[in-house]
Protein backbone atom coordinates (compact mmCIF):
# COMPACT_ATOMS: atom_id res chain seq x y z
CA UNK A 1 0.00 0.00 0.00
CA UNK A 2 1.38 3.43 -0.97
CA UNK A 3 2.19 6.10 1.60
CA UNK A 4 -0.66 8.42 2.55
CA UNK A 5 -0.80 11.75 0.76
CA UNK A 6 -1.83 13.54 3.96
CA UNK A 7 -0.97 12.68 7.53
CA UNK A 8 -2.52 14.68 10.38
CA UNK A 9 -1.23 14.07 13.91
CA UNK A 10 -2.34 15.75 17.12
CA UNK A 11 -4.04 18.57 15.26
CA UNK A 12 -5.77 21.15 17.42
CA UNK A 13 -7.37 24.29 16.09
CA UNK A 14 -8.94 27.36 17.57
CA UNK A 15 -11.12 30.21 16.36
CA UNK A 16 -11.17 33.45 18.36
CA UNK A 17 -9.51 31.68 21.27
CA UNK A 18 -12.03 28.83 21.34
CA UNK A 19 -10.83 25.29 20.71
CA UNK A 20 -12.77 23.75 17.81
CA UNK A 21 -10.57 20.76 16.97
CA UNK A 22 -8.73 18.75 19.61
CA UNK A 23 -5.88 16.32 19.08
CA UNK A 24 -7.15 14.97 15.77
CA UNK A 25 -5.04 12.35 13.97
CA UNK A 26 -5.81 10.55 10.71
CA UNK A 27 -4.39 9.78 7.29
CA UNK A 28 -5.66 10.29 3.78
CA UNK A 29 -4.65 7.59 1.28
CA UNK A 30 -2.97 8.65 -1.95
CA UNK A 31 -5.94 7.49 -4.00
CA UNK A 32 -9.71 7.67 -3.78
CA UNK A 33 -12.06 9.61 -1.57
CA UNK A 34 -11.78 9.81 2.21
CA UNK A 35 -14.90 11.16 3.87
CA UNK A 36 -14.62 13.27 7.02
CA UNK A 37 -17.94 12.80 8.77
CA UNK A 38 -19.64 13.82 11.99
CA UNK A 39 -22.63 15.61 13.38
CA UNK A 40 -23.02 19.35 12.91
CA UNK A 41 -20.47 21.42 14.79
CA UNK A 42 -17.96 18.66 15.55
CA UNK A 43 -15.13 20.45 13.74
CA UNK A 44 -15.11 19.01 10.21
CA UNK A 45 -14.87 22.36 8.43
CA UNK A 46 -12.40 23.61 11.02
CA UNK A 47 -10.22 20.56 10.42
CA UNK A 48 -10.04 21.29 6.70
CA UNK A 49 -9.28 24.95 7.40
CA UNK A 50 -6.63 24.01 9.93
CA UNK A 51 -4.92 21.68 7.44
CA UNK A 52 -4.33 24.57 5.03
CA UNK A 53 -3.70 27.12 7.76
CA UNK A 54 -6.80 29.25 7.36
CA UNK A 55 -7.28 29.14 11.13
CA UNK A 56 -4.77 28.93 13.97
CA UNK A 57 -3.62 25.38 14.68
CA UNK A 58 -1.12 23.21 16.52
CA UNK A 59 0.04 19.72 15.70
CA UNK A 60 1.62 18.05 12.71
CA UNK A 61 0.35 18.12 9.15
CA UNK A 62 2.40 16.22 6.57
CA UNK A 63 1.61 16.49 2.88
CA UNK A 64 3.29 13.93 0.66
CA UNK A 65 5.88 13.28 3.37
CA UNK A 66 6.73 16.91 4.09
CA UNK A 67 5.55 19.00 7.01
CA UNK A 68 3.35 21.91 5.99
CA UNK A 69 1.97 23.00 9.36
CA UNK A 70 4.45 25.86 9.67
CA UNK A 71 3.69 27.32 6.27
CA UNK A 72 1.27 30.05 5.25
CA UNK A 73 -1.89 29.07 3.40
CA UNK A 74 -0.83 30.23 -0.06
CA UNK A 75 2.36 28.16 0.08
CA UNK A 76 0.46 25.05 1.22
CA UNK A 77 -2.01 25.44 -1.65
CA UNK A 78 0.81 26.05 -4.12
CA UNK A 79 2.22 22.66 -3.16
CA UNK A 80 -0.82 21.13 -4.81
CA UNK A 81 -3.79 21.21 -2.47
CA UNK A 82 -7.08 22.42 -3.91
CA UNK A 83 -9.70 23.73 -1.50
CA UNK A 84 -13.44 23.85 -2.14
CA UNK A 85 -14.96 25.73 0.79
CA UNK A 86 -18.32 25.26 2.43
CA UNK A 87 -20.84 27.74 0.96
CA UNK A 88 -18.78 27.98 -2.27
CA UNK A 89 -17.28 31.41 -1.56
CA UNK A 90 -17.18 32.44 -5.20
CA UNK A 91 -16.18 36.04 -5.86
CA UNK A 92 -19.61 37.46 -6.54
CA UNK A 93 -18.56 40.59 -8.41
CA UNK A 94 -16.10 38.76 -10.65
CA UNK A 95 -17.26 36.95 -13.76
CA UNK A 96 -17.13 33.16 -13.98
CA UNK A 97 -14.11 33.46 -16.26
CA UNK A 98 -12.36 35.80 -13.82
CA UNK A 99 -13.03 33.40 -10.93
CA UNK A 100 -11.36 30.63 -12.90
CA UNK A 101 -8.50 32.81 -14.15
CA UNK A 102 -7.77 33.89 -10.59
CA UNK A 103 -7.46 30.26 -9.53
CA UNK A 104 -5.08 29.29 -12.34
CA UNK A 105 -1.65 28.70 -10.93
CA UNK A 106 0.23 27.43 -13.96
CA UNK A 107 -1.68 28.60 -16.98
CA UNK A 108 -4.64 26.31 -16.35
CA UNK A 109 -3.47 22.89 -17.50
CA UNK A 110 -6.84 21.32 -16.66
CA UNK A 111 -8.96 23.84 -18.52
CA UNK A 112 -10.17 21.14 -20.88
CA UNK A 113 -11.33 18.94 -17.99
CA UNK A 114 -13.16 21.85 -16.36
CA UNK A 115 -14.84 22.84 -19.62
CA UNK A 116 -15.83 19.24 -20.17
CA UNK A 117 -17.19 18.73 -16.65
CA UNK A 118 -19.02 22.04 -16.47
CA UNK A 119 -20.12 23.12 -19.96
CA UNK A 120 -22.65 25.46 -18.37
CA UNK A 121 -19.80 27.58 -17.05
CA UNK A 122 -18.35 28.02 -20.53
CA UNK A 123 -21.66 29.44 -21.70
CA UNK A 124 -21.78 31.75 -18.67
CA UNK A 125 -18.14 32.82 -18.74
CA UNK A 126 -18.88 36.54 -18.69
CA UNK A 127 -21.70 36.37 -16.13
CA UNK A 128 -20.98 37.71 -12.61
CA UNK A 129 -20.61 34.68 -10.33
CA UNK A 130 -22.88 36.26 -7.75
CA UNK A 131 -25.82 36.01 -10.15
CA UNK A 132 -25.45 32.25 -10.67
CA UNK A 133 -27.68 29.67 -8.99
CA UNK A 134 -26.35 27.75 -5.99
CA UNK A 135 -25.54 24.74 -8.14
CA UNK A 136 -23.71 26.80 -10.72
CA UNK A 137 -21.74 28.56 -7.98
CA UNK A 138 -20.76 25.15 -6.63
CA UNK A 139 -19.51 24.24 -10.09
CA UNK A 140 -17.39 27.41 -10.16
CA UNK A 141 -16.02 26.52 -6.74
CA UNK A 142 -15.18 22.97 -7.84
CA UNK A 143 -13.77 24.18 -11.15
CA UNK A 144 -11.39 26.51 -9.31
CA UNK A 145 -9.92 23.50 -7.53
CA UNK A 146 -9.90 21.22 -10.57
CA UNK A 147 -8.31 23.74 -12.90
CA UNK A 148 -4.86 23.10 -11.43
CA UNK A 149 -2.88 19.88 -11.27
CA UNK A 150 -3.47 19.36 -7.57
CA UNK A 151 -2.28 16.34 -5.63
CA UNK A 152 -5.07 16.53 -3.05
CA UNK A 153 -8.48 18.15 -2.91
CA UNK A 154 -10.17 19.28 0.30
CA UNK A 155 -13.86 19.52 -0.48
CA UNK A 156 -16.26 20.86 2.14
CA UNK A 157 -19.94 19.95 1.84
CA UNK A 158 -20.19 20.31 -1.94
CA UNK A 159 -23.83 19.21 -2.09
CA UNK A 160 -25.12 21.39 0.73
CA UNK A 161 -28.33 23.16 -0.21
CA UNK A 162 -28.40 21.85 -3.77
CA UNK A 163 -31.33 20.39 -5.65
CA UNK A 164 -31.23 16.57 -6.00
CA UNK A 165 -30.48 16.71 -9.73
CA UNK A 166 -27.55 19.04 -9.14
CA UNK A 167 -26.31 16.78 -6.33
CA UNK A 168 -26.04 13.98 -8.89
CA UNK A 169 -24.01 16.23 -11.22
CA UNK A 170 -21.68 17.36 -8.42
CA UNK A 171 -21.17 13.78 -7.24
CA UNK A 172 -20.41 12.73 -10.80
CA UNK A 173 -17.86 15.54 -11.18
CA UNK A 174 -16.20 14.51 -7.90
CA UNK A 175 -16.14 10.87 -8.96
CA UNK A 176 -14.35 11.83 -12.17
CA UNK A 177 -11.93 14.07 -10.32
CA UNK A 178 -11.22 11.31 -7.79
CA UNK A 179 -9.87 9.10 -10.57
CA UNK A 180 -6.96 11.50 -10.88
CA UNK A 181 -6.56 13.05 -7.45
CA UNK A 182 -7.26 11.94 -3.86
CA UNK A 183 -10.05 13.82 -2.10
CA UNK A 184 -10.73 14.54 1.56
CA UNK A 185 -14.46 15.13 1.53
CA UNK A 186 -16.69 16.62 4.21
CA UNK A 187 -20.21 15.58 3.34
CA UNK A 188 -23.56 15.24 5.14
CA UNK A 189 -25.30 13.42 2.34
CA UNK A 190 -24.62 9.75 3.10
CA UNK A 191 -25.79 8.64 -0.33
CA UNK A 192 -23.01 10.72 -1.83
CA UNK A 193 -20.57 9.34 0.73
CA UNK A 194 -21.64 5.79 -0.10
CA UNK A 195 -21.16 6.50 -3.80
CA UNK A 196 -17.76 8.19 -3.56
CA UNK A 197 -15.87 7.34 -0.39
CA UNK A 198 -13.67 4.38 0.33
CA UNK A 199 -12.53 5.40 3.80
CA UNK A 200 -14.26 7.41 6.51
CA UNK A 201 -12.97 9.40 9.45
CA UNK A 202 -15.68 10.33 11.95
CA UNK A 203 -15.26 13.25 14.33
CA UNK A 204 -17.10 13.64 17.60
CA UNK A 205 -16.66 16.61 19.89
CA UNK A 206 -13.60 17.81 17.98
CA UNK A 207 -11.85 14.39 18.22
CA UNK A 208 -11.60 11.36 15.96
CA UNK A 209 -14.20 8.82 17.06
CA UNK A 210 -13.96 6.26 14.26
CA UNK A 211 -11.80 5.39 11.27
CA UNK A 212 -12.71 2.66 8.84
CA UNK A 213 -14.16 1.69 5.51
CA UNK A 214 -17.09 3.75 4.32
CA UNK A 215 -19.08 0.73 3.27
CA UNK A 216 -18.70 -0.93 6.66
CA UNK A 217 -19.87 2.14 8.53
CA UNK A 218 -22.85 2.81 6.29
CA UNK A 219 -23.90 -0.84 6.40
CA UNK A 220 -23.88 -0.75 10.19
CA UNK A 221 -27.08 1.08 11.03
CA UNK A 222 -26.46 1.12 14.76
CA UNK A 223 -22.94 2.53 14.42
CA UNK A 224 -24.08 5.11 11.90
CA UNK A 225 -26.86 6.17 14.23
CA UNK A 226 -24.49 6.43 17.18
CA UNK A 227 -21.77 8.36 15.34
CA UNK A 228 -23.76 10.49 12.94
CA UNK A 229 -27.16 10.69 14.59
CA UNK A 230 -29.02 9.24 11.60
CA UNK A 231 -30.02 5.79 10.40
CA UNK A 232 -28.07 4.78 7.35
CA UNK A 233 -31.19 3.09 5.97
CA UNK A 234 -33.10 6.29 6.56
CA UNK A 235 -30.30 8.21 4.91
CA UNK A 236 -30.36 5.85 1.96
CA UNK A 237 -34.04 6.34 1.51
CA UNK A 238 -33.96 10.11 1.83
CA UNK A 239 -30.47 10.96 0.66
CA UNK A 240 -29.88 13.16 3.70
CA UNK A 241 -27.80 12.82 6.83
CA UNK A 242 -29.65 15.40 8.83
Amino acid sequence: MSAPILRVAGLSAHIAGQQVVEDVSFEVPATGVTALLGRNGVGKTSTLKAIIGLIGRRGTVEFDGERIDGQPTHRIVQRGIGYVPEDREVFASLSVEENLRLAERHGGPNRTLVDELFPDLVARASQPAGTLSGGQQQMVSLARALINDNRLLLVDEPTKGLAPLIVVDVAEALARAARAVPILLVEQNLEVVRKLAHTVVVLEGGRVAHVGLAQELLDDDELTKRLLGVHSAHAQANGEAS
Partner: protein, 291 residues
Amino acid sequence: MSTVILLIITGLGLGALYFLVASGLSLIYGLMGVLNFAHGSFLTLGAFAGWEFARRMGGGSWLTFFASLVVGAVVGAVVAAATEFLLIRRLYERHIEQVLVTVGLALASVALFDGIWGTDPIYVTGPAWLTQTSDILGARVPNDRFVLIIAAVFVLLAIVAFLKFTRYGLIIRAGVENRSMVTALGIDVRRAFTVVFAIGGAAAGLGGVLASHYFGYVSPQLGGSLLIFAFIVTVIGGLGSLAGAAMASVIVAILQQFANFFLGGTGDLVVVLLLAAVLLIRPTGLRGSKA
Protein backbone atom coordinates in the same frame (compact mmCIF):
# COMPACT_ATOMS: atom_id res chain seq x y z
CA MET B 1 -25.00 82.13 -13.64
CA SER B 2 -21.25 82.75 -13.85
CA THR B 3 -21.02 82.30 -10.06
CA VAL B 4 -22.70 78.91 -10.28
CA ILE B 5 -20.35 77.84 -13.07
CA LEU B 6 -17.37 79.07 -11.07
CA LEU B 7 -18.50 77.21 -7.96
CA ILE B 8 -19.13 74.01 -9.89
CA ILE B 9 -15.76 74.01 -11.65
CA THR B 10 -13.79 75.00 -8.55
CA GLY B 11 -15.80 72.37 -6.68
CA LEU B 12 -14.81 69.79 -9.25
CA GLY B 13 -11.18 70.87 -8.83
CA LEU B 14 -11.36 70.50 -5.06
CA GLY B 15 -13.21 67.21 -5.49
CA ALA B 16 -10.41 66.03 -7.74
CA LEU B 17 -7.96 66.75 -4.94
CA TYR B 18 -10.09 64.86 -2.43
CA PHE B 19 -10.33 61.94 -4.81
CA LEU B 20 -6.56 61.72 -5.26
CA VAL B 21 -6.23 61.20 -1.51
CA ALA B 22 -9.43 59.19 -0.98
CA SER B 23 -8.80 56.71 -3.81
CA GLY B 24 -5.80 55.26 -1.98
CA LEU B 25 -7.56 55.27 1.38
CA SER B 26 -10.54 53.49 -0.09
CA LEU B 27 -8.51 50.83 -1.91
CA ILE B 28 -6.37 50.18 1.16
CA TYR B 29 -9.37 49.84 3.45
CA GLY B 30 -11.28 47.75 0.90
CA LEU B 31 -8.54 45.17 0.50
CA MET B 32 -6.86 45.18 3.88
CA GLY B 33 -9.31 46.72 6.32
CA VAL B 34 -6.61 49.20 7.30
CA LEU B 35 -7.63 52.75 8.17
CA ASN B 36 -4.41 54.45 7.19
CA PHE B 37 -4.05 57.65 9.19
CA ALA B 38 -0.55 58.10 7.77
CA HIS B 39 -1.91 58.57 4.26
CA GLY B 40 -1.67 62.36 4.58
CA SER B 41 2.06 61.98 5.20
CA PHE B 42 2.49 60.39 1.77
CA LEU B 43 0.74 63.44 0.30
CA THR B 44 2.88 65.91 2.23
CA LEU B 45 6.11 64.11 1.37
CA GLY B 46 5.09 63.98 -2.29
CA ALA B 47 4.42 67.71 -2.20
CA PHE B 48 7.80 68.48 -0.62
CA ALA B 49 9.60 66.14 -3.03
CA GLY B 50 7.87 67.77 -6.01
CA TRP B 51 8.71 71.23 -4.71
CA GLU B 52 12.35 70.28 -3.99
CA PHE B 53 12.68 68.84 -7.47
CA ALA B 54 11.14 71.90 -9.14
CA ARG B 55 13.29 74.23 -7.03
CA ARG B 56 16.47 72.41 -7.95
CA MET B 57 15.52 72.33 -11.61
CA GLY B 58 15.02 76.04 -11.21
CA GLY B 59 11.92 76.64 -12.90
CA GLY B 60 8.40 77.21 -13.71
CA SER B 61 8.42 75.41 -17.03
CA TRP B 62 5.80 72.85 -18.00
CA LEU B 63 8.49 70.18 -18.26
CA THR B 64 9.60 70.81 -14.69
CA PHE B 65 5.99 70.87 -13.52
CA PHE B 66 5.14 67.51 -15.11
CA ALA B 67 8.42 66.03 -13.92
CA SER B 68 7.64 67.22 -10.37
CA LEU B 69 4.28 65.43 -10.59
CA VAL B 70 6.13 62.23 -11.48
CA VAL B 71 8.63 62.77 -8.65
CA GLY B 72 5.81 63.34 -6.15
CA ALA B 73 3.98 60.20 -7.31
CA VAL B 74 7.11 58.03 -7.23
CA VAL B 75 8.15 59.25 -3.77
CA GLY B 76 4.60 58.72 -2.49
CA ALA B 77 4.54 55.20 -3.94
CA VAL B 78 7.93 54.18 -2.56
CA VAL B 79 7.28 55.53 0.94
CA ALA B 80 3.79 53.99 1.05
CA ALA B 81 5.10 50.59 -0.10
CA ALA B 82 7.87 50.78 2.51
CA THR B 83 5.33 51.68 5.19
CA GLU B 84 3.24 48.64 4.31
CA PHE B 85 6.24 46.35 4.13
CA LEU B 86 7.97 47.50 7.30
CA LEU B 87 5.11 48.45 9.60
CA ILE B 88 1.62 47.44 8.49
CA ARG B 89 2.39 43.90 7.31
CA ARG B 90 3.01 42.77 10.87
CA LEU B 91 -0.30 44.17 12.04
CA TYR B 92 -2.97 42.72 9.77
CA GLU B 93 -6.19 41.94 11.65
CA ARG B 94 -4.84 43.94 14.60
CA HIS B 95 -6.89 47.08 14.09
CA ILE B 96 -6.07 48.90 17.30
CA GLU B 97 -2.34 48.52 16.68
CA GLN B 98 -2.81 49.64 13.07
CA VAL B 99 -4.50 52.83 14.21
CA LEU B 100 -1.80 53.48 16.82
CA VAL B 101 1.02 52.91 14.35
CA THR B 102 -0.46 54.96 11.51
CA VAL B 103 -1.47 57.83 13.82
CA GLY B 104 2.00 57.71 15.36
CA LEU B 105 3.60 57.73 11.93
CA ALA B 106 1.47 60.69 10.88
CA LEU B 107 2.49 62.68 13.98
CA ALA B 108 6.14 61.70 13.70
CA SER B 109 6.29 62.55 10.01
CA VAL B 110 4.88 66.05 10.62
CA ALA B 111 7.58 66.57 13.24
CA LEU B 112 10.17 65.25 10.79
CA PHE B 113 8.96 67.57 8.03
CA ASP B 114 9.00 70.47 10.52
CA GLY B 115 12.61 69.61 11.30
CA ILE B 116 13.66 69.40 7.66
CA TRP B 117 11.65 72.15 5.97
CA GLY B 118 10.52 74.29 8.91
CA THR B 119 7.03 75.07 10.13
CA ASP B 120 6.29 78.00 7.82
CA PRO B 121 4.50 77.49 4.52
CA ILE B 122 6.82 77.39 1.51
CA TYR B 123 5.35 79.12 -1.51
CA VAL B 124 5.59 77.25 -4.78
CA THR B 125 5.88 78.48 -8.32
CA GLY B 126 4.86 76.71 -11.47
CA PRO B 127 4.02 77.56 -15.05
CA ALA B 128 2.50 81.04 -15.19
CA TRP B 129 -0.65 79.65 -16.84
CA LEU B 130 -1.53 77.78 -13.65
CA THR B 131 -1.93 81.04 -11.72
CA GLN B 132 -4.07 82.62 -14.42
CA THR B 133 -7.79 82.26 -15.08
CA SER B 134 -9.87 81.22 -18.08
CA ASP B 135 -13.25 82.56 -19.05
CA ILE B 136 -15.94 79.86 -19.02
CA LEU B 137 -19.38 81.29 -19.86
CA GLY B 138 -18.52 84.47 -18.00
CA ALA B 139 -16.87 82.77 -15.02
CA ARG B 140 -13.19 83.43 -14.37
CA VAL B 141 -11.99 79.96 -13.45
CA PRO B 142 -8.47 79.44 -12.04
CA ASN B 143 -6.54 77.29 -14.50
CA ASP B 144 -5.06 74.97 -11.89
CA ARG B 145 -8.55 73.52 -11.35
CA PHE B 146 -8.51 72.14 -14.88
CA VAL B 147 -5.18 70.43 -14.23
CA LEU B 148 -6.55 68.92 -11.03
CA ILE B 149 -9.64 67.61 -12.77
CA ILE B 150 -7.62 66.12 -15.65
CA ALA B 151 -5.19 64.50 -13.19
CA ALA B 152 -8.01 62.98 -11.11
CA VAL B 153 -9.77 61.63 -14.21
CA PHE B 154 -6.45 60.21 -15.40
CA VAL B 155 -5.82 58.56 -12.02
CA LEU B 156 -9.36 57.18 -11.90
CA LEU B 157 -9.07 55.70 -15.41
CA ALA B 158 -5.59 54.35 -14.70
CA ILE B 159 -6.72 52.64 -11.49
CA VAL B 160 -9.85 51.24 -13.16
CA ALA B 161 -7.74 49.93 -16.07
CA PHE B 162 -5.26 48.42 -13.60
CA LEU B 163 -8.02 46.72 -11.63
CA LYS B 164 -9.79 45.51 -14.76
CA PHE B 165 -6.99 44.33 -17.00
CA THR B 166 -4.11 43.12 -14.82
CA ARG B 167 -3.70 40.00 -12.68
CA TYR B 168 -2.91 42.12 -9.63
CA GLY B 169 -6.09 44.06 -10.32
CA LEU B 170 -8.01 40.79 -10.38
CA ILE B 171 -6.42 39.74 -7.09
CA ILE B 172 -7.25 43.09 -5.52
CA ARG B 173 -10.89 42.99 -6.65
CA ALA B 174 -11.24 39.46 -5.33
CA GLY B 175 -9.40 40.36 -2.13
CA VAL B 176 -11.79 43.22 -1.42
CA GLU B 177 -14.60 40.62 -1.42
CA ASN B 178 -12.94 37.72 0.39
CA ARG B 179 -9.29 37.96 1.34
CA SER B 180 -8.94 34.52 2.92
CA MET B 181 -10.43 32.80 -0.14
CA VAL B 182 -7.83 34.51 -2.34
CA THR B 183 -5.16 33.05 -0.07
CA ALA B 184 -6.89 29.66 -0.25
CA LEU B 185 -6.41 29.76 -4.03
CA GLY B 186 -2.64 29.82 -3.49
CA ILE B 187 -2.14 33.54 -3.96
CA ASP B 188 0.19 35.55 -1.74
CA VAL B 189 -2.21 38.36 -1.04
CA ARG B 190 0.48 40.32 0.85
CA ARG B 191 2.08 41.29 -2.45
CA ALA B 192 -1.22 42.76 -3.52
CA PHE B 193 -1.28 44.69 -0.23
CA THR B 194 2.07 46.27 -1.07
CA VAL B 195 0.91 47.09 -4.59
CA VAL B 196 -2.25 48.73 -3.27
CA PHE B 197 -0.28 50.80 -0.79
CA ALA B 198 2.06 51.86 -3.62
CA ILE B 199 -0.86 52.86 -5.85
CA GLY B 200 -2.50 54.80 -3.03
CA GLY B 201 0.81 56.45 -2.16
CA ALA B 202 1.39 57.41 -5.80
CA ALA B 203 -2.05 59.03 -6.05
CA ALA B 204 -1.46 60.84 -2.75
CA GLY B 205 2.02 61.99 -3.81
CA LEU B 206 0.63 63.27 -7.11
CA GLY B 207 -2.17 64.93 -5.19
CA GLY B 208 0.40 66.52 -2.89
CA VAL B 209 2.21 68.27 -5.74
CA LEU B 210 -1.10 69.43 -7.23
CA ALA B 211 -2.35 70.53 -3.80
CA SER B 212 0.75 72.66 -3.35
CA HIS B 213 -0.14 74.49 -6.60
CA TYR B 214 -3.83 74.65 -5.65
CA PHE B 215 -3.10 76.25 -2.27
CA GLY B 216 0.03 78.04 -3.52
CA TYR B 217 2.25 76.60 -0.80
CA VAL B 218 3.48 73.41 0.79
CA SER B 219 3.65 72.90 4.55
CA PRO B 220 4.02 69.94 6.95
CA GLN B 221 0.29 70.19 7.76
CA LEU B 222 -0.83 69.98 4.13
CA GLY B 223 -1.61 66.26 4.15
CA GLY B 224 -3.32 66.23 7.53
CA SER B 225 -5.80 68.94 6.58
CA LEU B 226 -6.78 67.16 3.36
CA LEU B 227 -6.87 63.75 5.03
CA ILE B 228 -9.87 64.72 7.17
CA PHE B 229 -11.97 65.46 4.09
CA ALA B 230 -10.59 62.42 2.30
CA PHE B 231 -11.80 60.23 5.17
CA ILE B 232 -15.21 61.89 5.04
CA VAL B 233 -15.36 61.29 1.29
CA THR B 234 -14.27 57.67 1.74
CA VAL B 235 -16.98 57.01 4.32
CA ILE B 236 -19.70 58.79 2.32
CA GLY B 237 -18.68 56.97 -0.86
CA GLY B 238 -18.61 53.62 0.92
CA LEU B 239 -15.44 52.19 2.41
CA GLY B 240 -13.62 50.19 -0.23
CA SER B 241 -15.49 51.56 -3.24
CA LEU B 242 -13.41 53.50 -5.75
CA ALA B 243 -16.48 54.61 -7.70
CA GLY B 244 -18.10 55.67 -4.43
CA ALA B 245 -15.03 57.69 -3.52
CA ALA B 246 -15.13 59.45 -6.91
CA MET B 247 -18.83 60.26 -6.59
CA ALA B 248 -18.53 61.41 -2.99
CA SER B 249 -15.49 63.58 -3.77
CA VAL B 250 -17.49 65.55 -6.33
CA ILE B 251 -20.61 65.80 -4.16
CA VAL B 252 -18.74 66.86 -1.03
CA ALA B 253 -16.52 69.43 -2.75
CA ILE B 254 -19.31 71.07 -4.75
CA LEU B 255 -21.57 71.18 -1.69
CA GLN B 256 -18.73 72.68 0.30
CA GLN B 257 -18.12 75.39 -2.30
CA PHE B 258 -21.80 76.31 -2.54
CA ALA B 259 -22.25 76.40 1.24
CA ASN B 260 -19.15 78.54 1.64
CA PHE B 261 -20.48 81.03 -0.91
CA PHE B 262 -24.21 81.08 -0.19
CA LEU B 263 -24.33 80.12 3.51
CA GLY B 264 -21.63 82.35 4.93
CA GLY B 265 -18.59 80.06 4.90
CA THR B 266 -20.33 77.05 6.43
CA GLY B 267 -18.91 74.57 3.92
CA ASP B 268 -17.09 72.43 6.48
CA LEU B 269 -20.15 72.30 8.74
CA VAL B 270 -22.39 71.25 5.85
CA VAL B 271 -19.97 68.48 4.89
CA VAL B 272 -19.97 67.13 8.45
CA LEU B 273 -23.79 67.27 8.51
CA LEU B 274 -23.84 65.38 5.20
CA LEU B 275 -21.56 62.75 6.71
CA ALA B 276 -23.88 62.40 9.72
CA ALA B 277 -26.93 62.12 7.46
CA VAL B 278 -25.28 59.43 5.30
CA LEU B 279 -24.22 57.44 8.37
CA LEU B 280 -27.76 57.62 9.74
CA ILE B 281 -29.64 56.86 6.53
CA ARG B 282 -27.19 54.66 4.66
CA PRO B 283 -24.38 53.53 6.97
CA THR B 284 -22.61 51.61 4.20
CA GLY B 285 -22.20 54.80 2.17
CA LEU B 286 -23.24 55.45 -1.41
CA ARG B 287 -21.53 52.38 -2.93
CA GLY B 288 -20.11 50.44 -0.02
CA SER B 289 -20.96 46.96 1.13
CA LYS B 290 -19.62 47.45 4.64
CA ALA B 291 -18.87 50.35 6.94
